[in-house]
């Protein structure tokens, strides 16, 4: 028994010791916790009391946000200072939202504004209406979705908070009945038309609410009430107005389209905004950087709450630079009319079922300035009515077999490769090569006519060219035998053509230029086709560059449409000072002596004025001296009419330059697929002759005018009606 209590006691004392130990340890734990919590409070005190002001300042610190506002885009003029593309100022009402702007703020402003202006409600979509209905009837709208469904959406495991809200909204939208949508009054729709645009804007970036048809009254009333309409402003917007139908001027995107989707990164990297209007085709695209101008930059300082506390204009911005084109719009309109008339005339003839287009390019062979660029295309609209549309872009984006017009290039190629020399005489006779149809000149179906290069050009001898090609290939002609030609022979000739700009890019200052197709067969017959322009295809602009190269004595010159870049006009009456003048660019020089070139020029002169010249009947009576070359190509049709693919057609072409001695213009005409038969009116030659006549007529008029005029005045755009009128007067006078 004695042991028992002592054991108990010992156990108890152990327990007591343990208890004491436990409370000691609990105290340690508690004390550590006390220390840790004190640390929290100390840190809070440091942050909120010692550094509190710093944080308050940090919140008040302003973030600067740069906002670009639009400036007018540069205008485009023709070489005489006639406006081709203009900007029209438009009154505009804008709205700028801030980060702190709430939906309610916007609705308030939209309600007030709707009383002052009338909006077009057509662009409002069904979705807009449904969203707006939800905004107006929030409780009723969300009551459409039962508690359970809301819960289901909220518990959907795979959705972010935002997605959940979107899903809920979608459900509500779907359940709004058409009757309920009809509850939206006309007034509501007016508010909605404004509200939807407000909501679509970017923060701090003025969003145009109305810019079309803002009446003076609306503009004035809104301007008076600006103080009651926070965020609203009245300003001037610019509309791009084309004063010419010329397709190469291109077009710009609208602010709604913004920068093209495929070039977003390109433009954003250059400080454009997403809703900027940019050139999307041809001249407008090519000279985007010049025309765009420098936007005014306004820095909005915002505080930590997103309110604008200060606005500072850091750069005033400047309108886009103005572009003077090399095009003479009077000449352009006049020759445009000529081409159109001739095209329609040819279309009225038999065998013209596939004829749908004609081109004329006229340029200065010394400077590369493109004076006119005409492309006309016949198209049938939905109602079956035929219309003539501008297709000037086709002059460098489409290529055709051009026929004999390239013969001057063939001769010069023969000379430069030392295969033949000027004055070499070959016999024009049908060429018979094993396995192919006999190949011959049109004027000589069966005879044997010896001729030199001059006559070969004058009469357009195919056989002279064939024999030149054989010399180049280093093969002898043996009737009825095969011809051994190699790929290298094709390459040699094509390389030489390229010196003239044939089959290579001309370098025109427009996007989307096409080089033409190169045939890939290398049989001997194709080599013969190549040298008479019936194999590879070339663009009308390439022809113009090629004839310019001959006209100017061997320099391949880059054609260009921009003549000068000028500062914006100060007074709107005279052109601004010149920034850059775009001079001639020589791309390369051909490998021929002056004698060789002059020899070919002489041959081309005989085309117009020789007794047997192919163009003589059209040019013999001309008051000017000139040289040229006509062409007819047997072309297999691969045009827009797919059902007619493979049809044998004739394409007719013409190149030339004038005056002969001191050329001012070089021109090329292409009329593809003029007939599916063999008879046709040579509208290629008619167009060429009429166009050159027109050029000299206008030239004469301009020289007289230039004497009277001092300074560089901005002219009114020339209209088709004016040209028609002048022509009518002339006919009357006769």
């Amino acid at each position: 028994m004695r042991k028992n209590p002592s054991k108990k006691k010992r156990a108890a004392s152990v327990k007591a010791k343990q208890r004491a130990n436990l409370s000691f340890r609990m105290n340690i734990l508690f004390f550590s916790i006390f220390l840790l919590f004190s640390m929290l409070i100390l840190r809070l005190g440091y942050m909120q009391i010692v550094k509190g002001e710093d944080y308050v300042r940090e919140l008040a610190r302003t973030d600067e946000v740069t906002v670009n506002s639009s400036v007018p885009r540069g205008r485009i003029y023709d070489r005489q200072g006639r406006v081709l593309v203009d900007n029209e100022p438009k009154n505009a009402i804008t709205y700028t939202k801030l980060q702190s702007t709430t939906t309610k703020d916007m609705l308030d402003v939209a309600n007030k504004l709707a009383k002052l202006i009338k909006m077009d409600t057509k662009p409002i979509t069904d979705r807009d209406k449904r969203d707006f209905w939800i905004t107006l009837n929030k409780e009723k709208a969300y009551a459409k979705v039962s508690e359970k469904e809301q819960q289901d959406i909220n518990n959907a495991p795979d959705l972010e908070q935002k997605e959940k809200q979107a899903k809920l909204d979608q459900l509500v939208r779907d359940r709004i009945t058409n009757d309920e949508l009809r509850e939206l009054t006309k007034k509501d729709l007016q508010v909605l038309a404004i509200y939807r645009l407000m909501a679509a804007g970017y923060y701090l970036s003025p969003q145009i609410i109305k810019s079309d048809n803002v009446t003076n009254k609306e503009f004035a009333i809104v301007s008076e009430n600006l103080s009651k309409l926070p965020g609203v402003n009245t300003t001037t917007d610019w509309a791009r107005v084309k004063k010419s139908a010329l397709s190469i001027l291109g077009s710009t995107t609208t602010p709604r389209e913004g920068i093209p989707k495929n070039l977003v990164d390109y433009y954003l990297a250059r400080d454009y905004s997403r809703n900027d209007r940019v050139g999307k085709s041809y001249i407008e695209q090519q000279y985007e950087e010049i025309l765009q101008g420098q936007k005014a930059v306004v820095k909005n300082a915002t505080n930590g709450k997103g309110q604008v506390v200060d606005t500072e204009t850091t750069s005033e911005g400047s309108p886009g630079k103005e572009l003077i084109l090399t095009i003479d719009s009077e000449l352009q309109e006049s020759v445009d009319k000529i081409v159109e008339e001739q095209l329609l005339f040819a279309k009225s003839q038999g065998g013209s079922s596939l004829l749908d287009r004609a081109f004329l390019v006229m340029m200065n062979p010394n400077t590369g300035e493109v004076l006119s660029m005409v492309g006309k295309k016949l198209e049938t609209d939905d109602k079956g009515k035929m219309t003539v549309n501008d297709y000037a872009i086709g002059t460098f984006t489409s290529a055709y077999e051009v026929g004999s017009v390239i013969k001057p290039a063939t001769l010069l190629t023969g000379y430069s490769l030392n295969a033949i020399t000027p004055n070499d005489v070959f016999i024009d006779e049908p060429i018979k090569i094993a396995g192919t149809q006999p190949k011959k000149s049109i004027f000589n179906p069966s005879g044997s006519i010896p001729m030199d290069g001059l006559t070969a050009l004058e009469r357009s001898s195919n056989v002279y060219m064939f024999k030149t090609a054989m010399k180049i290939a280093g093969v002898n002609y043996v009737p009825n035998a095969g011809l051994r030609v190699t790929l290298e022979d094709f390459t040699k000739i094509r390389n030489s053509y390229a010196q003239f700009g044939l089959g290579v890019k001309t370098g025109i200052d427009l996007p989307g230029e096409f080089e033409g197709f190169k045939g890939n067969e290398t049989i001997s017959g194709k080599l013969l086709d190549l040298v008479i322009g019936q194999y590879d295809t070339f663009t009308p602009l390439q022809l113009a560059q090629f004839v310019s190269t001959i006209a100017n004595g061997g320099k391949r010159i880059q054609p260009h449409l921009a003549k000068e870049i000028r500062e914006p006009s100060v007074d709107g009456k005279t052109l601004g000072p010149i920034v850059t003048e775009l001079g001639p660019t020589i791309l390369n020089t051909i490998d021929n002596s002056k004698t060789e070139i002059d020899y070919v020029k002489n041959g081309m002169h005989r085309v117009y004025f020789g007794s047997q010249g192919t163009g003589a009947s059209y040019f013999r009576d001309a008051k000017f001296d000139a040289a040229g070359k006509t062409g007819t190509a047997e072309a297999v049709y691969y045009g827009p009419n797919k059902s007619a693919y493979g049809t044998q057609t004739l394409s007719i072409t013409h190149v030339g330059y004038a005056p002969y001695d001191n050329p001012e213009i070089a021109y090329a005409v292409v009329v593809p697929w003029v007939t599916t038969g063999t008879n046709y009116t040579a509208i290629n030659n008619i167009i060429a002759r009429k166009a050159v006549d027109k050029y000299f007529e206008i030239q004469k008029k301009n020289t007289e005018k230039a004497k009277q005029k001092v300074g560089e005045k901005i002219q009114k755009p020339i209209t088709k009606e004016q040209i028609d009128e002048e022509d009518a007067q002339k006919i009357d006078a006769q």
Partner: protein
């Protein structure tokens, strides 16, 4: 047995009052947090609902005696592990029951709401640990270094299983909570300082070493030890948020701006100006700091401290070692949550996804904490009963 005392005497009114205060604070803060209109749901009513559920849990738990919990503890622990295992193997595809959120597969997405098993596991872990330690002491009444090492081994065994599952999710925050609970239990379990101090010392050294390496030896950590770059980013954005302001540091900076600009008195109810993401859940303290300033924020910390104080006092009253260990575990759990959550909003600790107990919005967190406090309520409620049971021994000693 407990008929001799009235209900009102046995009920822990203080604890209930503290809960009521937390409820008011929580609802007020959440009401302010959602004024940015960023959420579709109204979290105030939802949080009130969770408080109701929490109250029900605590009420229900009072009906069981601590002895019953003691018996149940291993089963509860097993159930918790089962849940964690289920979570691990549950389909985690898009739209499926255990789809990962923020890169962690920690939730069951059930029709009633998202359930985070690790929140419940914390309480079950505390129970199991307490049961294990008390059983050990019953068996080895005479302590020696050897028994202490044995105990330590067992404790780590119990820790290791849930920890392995939680690190798989991965959820570093919750894992640290388990460490905190373990640490507190180890201290309270009476393990010799000769063991605790070297372990604590080397743990501290390891932590400091890792931090130093994260700053100066990233390559080694990344390639030799298999840490991922995002873990470094968390450290850097904590130490220097302004250099990472556009990404990781943004959350911290907005939280600092919010709390700092609250100054002494705060901006008043719903006077919040700074938008802090997740400010109704993990960053709810930034709302309190901004709207009620140093005074309000300190008051909330003091309230937590008062809760800890109350729990500590209770712990010392408990006669059954099991209850002592449970209370210590709960204290550690709450302390760590508060410290880490508030610490991360004021740049004292790096950001982890740990809610502020009783204040952050969240069903799992509320229920997990309610389970823990339910145990405390139960112990207090049935306290007298086993004072009788131990009466003879104690009286003799006294």
């Amino acid at each position: 047995m407990n008929t001799n005392k009235k209900f009102s005497d046995r009920f822990d009114w203080t604890l209930a009052f503290i809960m009521l205060l937390f409820c008011i604070i929580s609802v007020t803060a959440i009401a302010s947090a959602q004024t940015s209109g960023q959420y579709a749901a109204n979290y105030v009513t939802k949080q009130l609902f969770w408080y109701f559920i929490g109250a029900c849990i605590m009420g229900a738990m009072m009906y069981f005696e601590p002895d019953q919990y003691k018996k149940m503890s291993w089963y509860l622990y097993g159930a918790g592990i089962l849940l964690l295992a289920l979570l691990l193997i549950a389909p985690g595809g898009v739209g499926q029951i255990a789809e990962p959120r923020n890169g962690a597969k920690s939730w069951f997405h059930l029709p009633v709401g998202d359930i985070q098993p690790s929140e419940f596991m914390k309480t079950f872990f505390i129970l199991a640990l307490a049961r294990m330690v008390s059983k050990h002491h019953e068996k080895y009444s005479m302590r020696s270094l050897k028994t202490d090492f044995m105990l330590l081994g067992k404790i780590f065994g119990v820790l290791l299983i849930p920890l392995a599952f939680i690190m798989q999710q991965p959820d570093l925050g919750s894992a640290l909570v388990f460490f905190a609970i373990t640490a507190a239990t180890v201290i309270v379990a009476g393990i010799s300082w000769k063991i605790i101090l070297p372990i604590a010392g080397s743990a501290a050294a390891l932590g400091a070493g890792l931090l130093w390496m994260a700053l100066y030896m990233q390559d080694f950590l990344q390639h030799k030890l298999g840490f991922s770059p995002y873990q470094f980013a968390r450290i850097y954005s904590w130490l220097d948020p302004y250099s990472y302001a556009s990404s990781d540091g943004y959350h911290l900076i907005s939280s600092l701006n919010a709390i700092g600009s609250g100054e002494i008195f705060g901006k008043g109810f719903q006077g919040r100006e700074v938008y802090v993401p997740e400010n109704h859940t993990d960053f709810v303290f930034s709302v309190i700091g901004e709207e009620y300033g140093f005074i309000g924020a300190s008051a909330v910390i003091c309230l937590f401290f008062f809760l800890i104080f109350h729990l500590t006092k209770l712990t010392l009253q408990m006669k059954d070692p099991f209850c002592t260990y449970v209370c210590a575990g709960i204290i550690a759990m709450i302390t760590f949550h508060v410290l880490e959550n508030i610490g991360m909003t004021i740049q004292l600790l790096p950001i982890t996804g740990i809610p502020l107990p009783f204040i952050s919005y969240g069903g799992s967190s509320m229920m997990g904490n309610a389970l823990a406090l339910g145990l405390v309520f139960s112990m207090k409620f049935h306290h007298r009963t086993y004072m009788f049971g131990n009466h003879d021994e104690d009286e003799e000693f006294l």
